[in-house]
């Protein structure tokens, strides 16, 4: 771990600390592409990249949403600009995360039928606020074809998670957390690693997995954030503040733990953990 307060500058093709140690490649690219100067953020993201390096190829997009700036927040850390975020309506970009209190949302450019595979996909988020016990969705899509890819939607007070399945209601749940569990902050993830293996967690807790739910169909619409893309339109807006999102191919239990730890450490280092 490097200390806070080092200077940074582009040296040739590689951004380096003033002390000479090179940043990890994706961190270096992020710093250059978005003119990042916050030493604390750079150190934290560099450490994050080091931690997840063994599974870095499993991500299609990663977004750090704590930069307090629309352009800095929209950058895909993995590098494919097709997944840079586009915002709609009024979005509040704070140093802790992004949110909207007036039905703002963002598009990810990520269409599961185009960019993921049926039996290998994950979707994660770090939310600094608990999900409201109402009909809301923080990050997801429900396709015209009936396919669902949703993390952290609530319906009638019960949080529900589904992944590459047909529909989102009772018989298609990945799992259902008791409505009495009101704290749904922090890291949440859904992951599918085969037609029958789906698993994930919420609030830094590995919750459940099942082999009884068979994948059927991926959403054929783009995944939205701060709302759900319901067959082409934003629906179920959420006013949660979120600081991190990712999507990619399926993560195993141990890989979920690794990502969970990396995200938690990132938020703690930045002082925006909850």
């Amino acid at each position: 771990m490097y200390g806070v307060g080092f200077g940074y500058g582009a040296i040739g093709a590689t951004t380096k600390r003033s002390g000479g140690a090179a940043l990890n490649p994706l961190t270096s690219a992020w710093v250059t592409a978005r003119s990042i100067t916050d030493a604390t953020a750079i150190n934290a993201v560099n450490a994050f990249e080091t931690t997840i390096n063994p599974i870095i190829s499993k991500f299609h997009h990663i977004h750090f949403l704590f930069n307090g700036d629309a352009t800095k927040n929209n950058y895909n850390f993995i590098g494919n600009s097709a997944f840079n975020l586009t915002y709609f309506g009024t979005i509040i970009h704070a140093s802790t995360g992004i949110k909207s209190t007036s039905n703002g949302y963002f598009k990810t450019g990520y269409i599961p039928t185009t960019h993921s595979t049926l039996n290998s996909a994950h979707q994660s988020i770090y939310s600094r606020t608990s999900m409201p016990l109402a009909t809301k969705c923080v990050f997801g899509a429900y396709g015209v074809n009936g396919g669902s890819s949703i993390v952290a939607p609530f319906w009638d007070g019960s949080p529900r998670y589904v992944f590459n399945q047909n529909g989102v209601y009772t018989d298609n749940l990945l799992w259902s957390i008791p409505a009495t569990w009101s704290d749904s902050r922090r890291f949440a993830i859904g992951s599918r690693t085969s037609s029958t293996a789906v698993e994930g967690g919420i609030n830094n807790v590995y919750v459940a997995k099942t082999s009884s739910i068979i994948s059927t169909v991926r959403p054929d619409v783009e995944v939205y954030g701060l709302t759900m893309n319901f067959q082409g339109s934003p629906m179920f807006y959420s006013y949660n503040e979120i600081s991190f999102i990712s999507q990619g191919i399926g993560l195993t239990s141990s890989e979920i733990s690794l990502l969970n730890e990396a995200v938690d450490t990132l938020m703690t280092t930045l002082g925006i953990n909850v």
Partner: protein, 69 residues
């Protein structure tokens, strides 16, 4: 939340207009009567005078029945 109601033609004229970096109007927000609505924060963020001249009303969201049953 305060909003202004716009017509379909006005909606079309706002497509593709940036109100902040990488940020466009949300032109898919409807009220309980199916009217197209623009939130007051977005209106304040732009320099489109006809939009600023529209009256603001309290937003009443549509009633959404469970679409997943």
């Amino acid at each position: 939340m305060q909003v202004a109601i716009i017509t379909q033609a006005q909606k079309t004229s706002l497509e593709g207009i940036l109100i902040a970096p990488s940020t466009y109007f949300n032109l898919q927000m409807y009220d309980v009567n199916g009217n197209i609505c623009i939130d007051s924060y977005s209106i304040n963020s732009c320099n489109i005078q006809w939009l600023k001249d529209l009256p603001l009303i309290q937003y009443v969201p549509p009633i959404i029945e469970n679409p997943f049953i």
